[in-house]
Symmetry: none
Subunit: 408 residues, 2 copies
């Protein structure tokens, strides 16, 4: 290892013109981000390629240097890893919601009135289920969210969601095989059985009785989506020889990090929301850099603000990132600092878009281009040019001195 | 042929910030390179792709427009072609060193005290060896270097080096098959036999007796590395219809040039070192341009300086290239002049890196972008954008009028 590296991914940071022809990054004073852009190399990046809208999971996989066509097998396993489930090869995992259905099976609320902390208690009642020899693991996550894992022989992720994905009061769906294959048929059948049982168990759960008495919606079913199969893949350590860790609030990012072999550090105050404790994250990163060669920091708040169409909050998060960078840049002698995003989430769209994201690399000996500001427009004329997400890690690996020559 | 072209490859030219945030190219006055950049098209290039560290051999193959995954078969054949051996399809070639081993087979010096001119005489004693029906061809190269070629049926390049590649006094290695295959096993066995015989023959060579009497290290063994198999590939002439030649000092570059069908011109004074006679090279190039459509000029010195971490010499070489360009630009009416590098060799690293290299194309009717300086930063905002090495030749071929429309 010649050098270390810190990768800061600001989720949903990229945007379009929102005011006076300027993007939120252009509108926000951000002294340290600009100063580093001035002293470093900049560029612009399409994480999955031009015109392709990245998901958060696929974008991160690409940023970590993994070809998503080969290594992306659905979101479920990331969520499962993210909440701390120790997956085995062949497990099929799902994202789940606790939801509220009426007596006719119509989904009254996909989020059961956004649970607070009841998920954990409810989840206990769903343990120990076994269907056709397949073991069921269920874990609650934040609010109404949870993860379902099926463990056993002959499972397939090729099945449809039971979550109807709509605010209208439609009945929850039957899981259907998406392939005409015995495994898919069997897995769909098992999932339908589990959903049915969850309804039986949860409907009579004392906590739900309490909720109903309080006039709240009961969390009386779990609905599945995002099926994915877990496969063990070559870790960053195996590929490049360096140790790595993850500092993130939300489960998904911890999950992708674990998938590629990073150690997930738990940072109190890292909430994955706009109230995240940026000072704590910086402190933990600097500490982590003593132990690990590569530190991945995920900042979620800007994406949340974008999905809400909230310019003020997005600008606030940019200033938080500016503070983070101020605290991290002291490491400049030892490490490269890379700041970028996983995708754009334009405020005007309230969804991800394919607009490319700004990229900055700062550190020892780095080429200094003429770019003086860190935003989507300025960095697009930087010396790094226009990269694909999957190329970034190769560049970082060479900066760290962990790459190998091709040829001689 | 509508036009001719001169491709100047300045080995290891690209760099990182070394002083005041500037690269050696930015620090060096280079009137003619800058003037041509101003009047031409510029860009930046990753010869093997982003984040990939190019070897000298693979980088040149890519610059000549050949897909390395298909056409790169190890370095040995390039070295063999470079010293003038006429290879046949299926020959397996190795780079060799004359080395010094003690009586226990430990390598005292991998370079036998860096021979001067004795290699040629010593090489004679290694002629005519035949092992298991395989003919052995050996040729000395510069200093302690040489080339070994095996010619016969059933050979494989999938064998390990006998050179231990270290300055520590470790025993030389046995060649081992890198594949579980009869050809590889047989080739390894033959190489081990040849190395053994070289030790017997060279140990008793009068020249080595003399060296020992003079207190010098005897060149008492040859050690092999970089095995590669020779295959005949479509030449530039066959692919594009134009004639081409190479002006280079070092064997490797002559070898790659021969591999793609260029004629190798011998230029007295072209040393492949910092003392190379740039005026002679320019003179020869201008002469060559009367006979050939495409002239490849290789300048090695900047890479040597970079491997030594010597900024002064690197800047000196840049000025030599500036002089070369001054002399060549007179051809502007008839020919395109392309200046680039095969890879970066940052002074701070003393090794190749994946940092992209500057590119400039000057000649009749070429688009003039806004770039006014020839360096890594300035050219990165040029109108050619960011190319891959293998794309460059396509661009040149069309400028020369030798390309074909796809579609109609």
């Amino acid at each position: 290892m010649e050098k270390k590296a810190i990768l800061v991914v600001v989720d949903g940071l990229g945007d379009r013109s929102v005011k006076e022809g300027k993007t939120p990054l252009q509108l926000t004073p951000k002294k340290h981000l600009d100063d580093l852009a001035k002293r470093g190399s900049t560029g612009i990046m399409s994480t999955l390629g031009r015109g392709i809208i990245p998901g958060s999971d696929t974008a991160h996989l690409a940023l970590f240097g993994y070809d998503i066509n080969r290594y992306y097998k659905g979101r479920g396993p990331f969520e499962a890893l993210g909440v701390g489930i120790d997956l085995k090869e062949g497990d099929v995992a799902f994202r789940c919601n606790f939801a509220t259905v009426d007596k006719d099976g119509r989904v009254i609320d996909r989020r059961a009135g956004r649970l607070k902390d009841e998920g954990k208690e409810l989840a206990k009642s769903l343990q120990g289920i076994e269907v056709e020899g397949v073991k069921v693991i269920f874990s609650s996550s934040t609010e109404h969210r949870g993860v379902l894992v099926l463990r056993g022989e002959g499972l397939s992720p090729e099945i449809s969601d039971t979550d109807p994905h709509t605010a209208e009061s439609l009945p929850f769906k039957e899981a259907r095989p998406l392939k005409n294959d015995e495994r898919a048929k069997r897995t769909a059948k098992i999932v339908n059985e589990i959903v049915k049982r969850s309804q039986e168990i949860l409907s009579s759960h004392p906590l739900n009785k309490e909720r109903e008495e309080e006039g709240k919606l009961p969390a009386n079913i779990i609905l599945t989506r995002g099926a994915g199969i877990y496969q063990k893949i070559p870790s960053l350590k195996e590929k490049y020889g360096f140790s790595s860790c993850c500092i993130a609030g939300a489960a998904l990012y911890k999950g992708v990090a674990k998938y590629v072999g990073m150690e997930v550090l738990e940072v109190p105050g890292a909430t994955g929301r706009i109230d995240t404790d940026i000072e704590a994250k910086a402190r933990e990163s600097k500490k982590a850099l003593k132990t690990f060669d590569f530190v991945f920091i995920h900042i979620k708040g800007a994406d949340n603000a974008s999905h809400d169409g909230n310019l003020r909050d997005k600008m606030l998060m940019i200033q938080k990132v500016d503070r983070l960078v101020e605290l991290l840049r002291e490491e400049e002698e030892n490490a490269y600092l890379i700041v970028t995003a996983d995708h754009s989430t334009p405020l005007s769209l309230k969804r991800h878009s394919s607009d490319p994201v700004p990229l900055m690399i700062y550190g020892p000996g780095i080429r200094q281009d003429k770019v003086e500001l860190f935003d989507e427009i300025s960095t697009s004329s930087g010396c790094l040019g226009h990269l694909k997400g999957v190329e970034l890690m190769k560049v970082i690996v060479d900066l760290m001195g962990c790459s190998h020559m091709v040829g001689s």
